[in-house]
Symmetry: C2
Subunit: 301 residues, 2 copies
């Protein structure tokens, strides 16, 4: 069973604090730290780790303990919006685990953060029980500075913990979501309007695919433009469909696709789905992938 957890912590400048948090994650059995990176101008760090439910829970609580001890939002400055020392904590199903399992884990860890550290916790995305509190942006609007007033207003009692912010650590948003794929398609043109029009056509907010966020950018060093995307549910809006749509829309402007790129990590299943589509595979089952079979419980025949 593999669950990924990607906590965002409001500290991106003090390397000693960031590495102490990384060490806390590494110290938990059954958990593997896959990546971490800090942004000084955002004054924020993102940690990526994975393991079973028990390990991931223990690693998260160890992280919260360190982060709350080190971060004081009353003096924190940074470009990225934030309302907590541990700002947002998504749990993501990777292997042998359902979204419902991740929702249950989010509630368990959220409750533990609230009771152990007196930090109010809001549930978001799949763990949210309230449509007005599903999107992170809606919950975080007003940030740390506006949090006390927001929590005093109707509809903004936390899901767990005290009815007012933690004095230095604010509040934490905990939830469950699908793995997010950062995916870019590069076009053989320098026409930014083409990238922007295609982005508008495929993104959810302007009528496109439900699980696509997209924008058009210029890549100055290469003299080309890019449709830059987040795919927020690769099962329901798969990579191959987005790629084929962008290719077709680009052709309408006489533009070719140069290539595409996946930034960071991608679940194996997202690539397997593309292979299935293009090879027109009939009756293919995930446990035909040798590595899946090796790790599945059911393979003990």
């Amino acid at each position: 069973m593999v669950i990924e957890c990607i906590p965002n912590v409001s500290e991106g400048r003090r390397a000693d604090v960031v590495s102490a948090i990384a060490d806390a994650i590494r110290g938990v059995r059954g958990v593997r730290l896959l990546d971490f990176s800090s942004d000084a101008s955002h004054n924020r760090s993102v940690f990526t780790f994975a393991g079973d439910a028990e390990g991931v829970e223990r690693a998260m609580l160890a992280l919260v303990e360190r982060a709350i001890a080190a971060v004081d939002l009353r003096t924190h400055k940074g470009e990225h919006p934030r309302m907590g020392a541990v700002d947002v904590v998504p749990f993501v199903p990777i292997e042998g685990v359902t979204m419902a399992d991740c929702v249950a884990l989010a509630k368990k860890v959220g409750g533990a953060i609230a009771s152990r550290f007196s930090v109010p916790v809001f549930l978001y995305e799949e763990a949210s029980s309230n449509p007005a509190r599903k999107n992170l942006e809606d919950i975080r609007r007003g940030e740390f500075e506006g949090l006390a007033a927001k929590m005093a207003s109707p509809g903004w009692a936390p899901d767990f913990g005290p009815a007012q912010p933690h004095p230095s650590a604010g509040a934490t948003v905990v939830g469950a979501r699908m793995a997010l794929i950062a995916y870019n398609i590069n076009l053989a043109t320098d026409r930014l309007d083409v990238a922007k029009k295609i982005a508008a056509g495929i993104r959810h907010s302007s009528g496109g695919y439900r699980f696509v966020k997209a924008a058009g950018f210029t890549l100055d060093d290469r003299g080309i433009v890019q449709v830059s995307m987040n795919l927020t549910n690769y099962e329901k809006t798969p990579i191959f469909r987005v790629f084929e749509t962008v290719k077709r829309e680009a052709a309408r402007y006489g533009v070719n696709v140069l290539g595409s790129e996946i930034v960071g990590l991608v679940p194996s299943a997202a690539l397997t789905a593309a292979a299935e589509f293009y090879l027109q595979l009939e009756g293919f089952k995930p446990d035909q992938v040798l590595e899946n079979k090796l790790r599945s419980e059911k393979s003990e025949i």
Copy 2:
């Protein structure tokens, strides 16, 4: 580190013998039995298991012990050619292991089979040191019945063990090779000549791709034809290239591809390569696949 091993044993009729061998494999720590199947008319069983080098070696020796005790080739009948109670033993690199590692393991296990059980061992495929003894078919020609005479002739001394066959267990062929993918492409036609012409065009033996074996068949129940293939090195002759070539050749006869199918197991990397090709991925690295990163030693950052 994951090595796959697919021993073929000359017993496909006595279920008790086959399950005793399966139990012997299951009993080895660090090894997982992925599949086994018996064919009564071939009188032959194929076991698929995987694990680290040490575990796979121990499982193989346990299998040989059971098979030699139970199988007597002097009374064995079956449609499939064979020259040993344990007929052929390929080791296949899957993850975190090179072909050279598998060659070394084949030599180690081959030596152990010879010395422990007095069975002569021939090395084949990547483990072979002699081009005339690379192909299994060449080594096995003459079968068990012709083995004593063959081994007495020039060039057929075994790589390990006695200069004459084991009285009841014959000789065993041990080696290393790439994972083999059983891959079929179904055509929207009942014209067998089209499937046969395409198969001839893509297979190595008649001028096609180096690592493709192919034949054309009729699928009576569906009223269509199929190009049925073994891809013997998916890194050098990848699935997507074969698929695209068959699609193009079929179009030349006005025939569409209905779909394709992978029979049995496929290494994740073979599907990832197809996704990379069709999505025109730039700069993609295997450790961007989340599951690979999770399992790699280097992920401890």
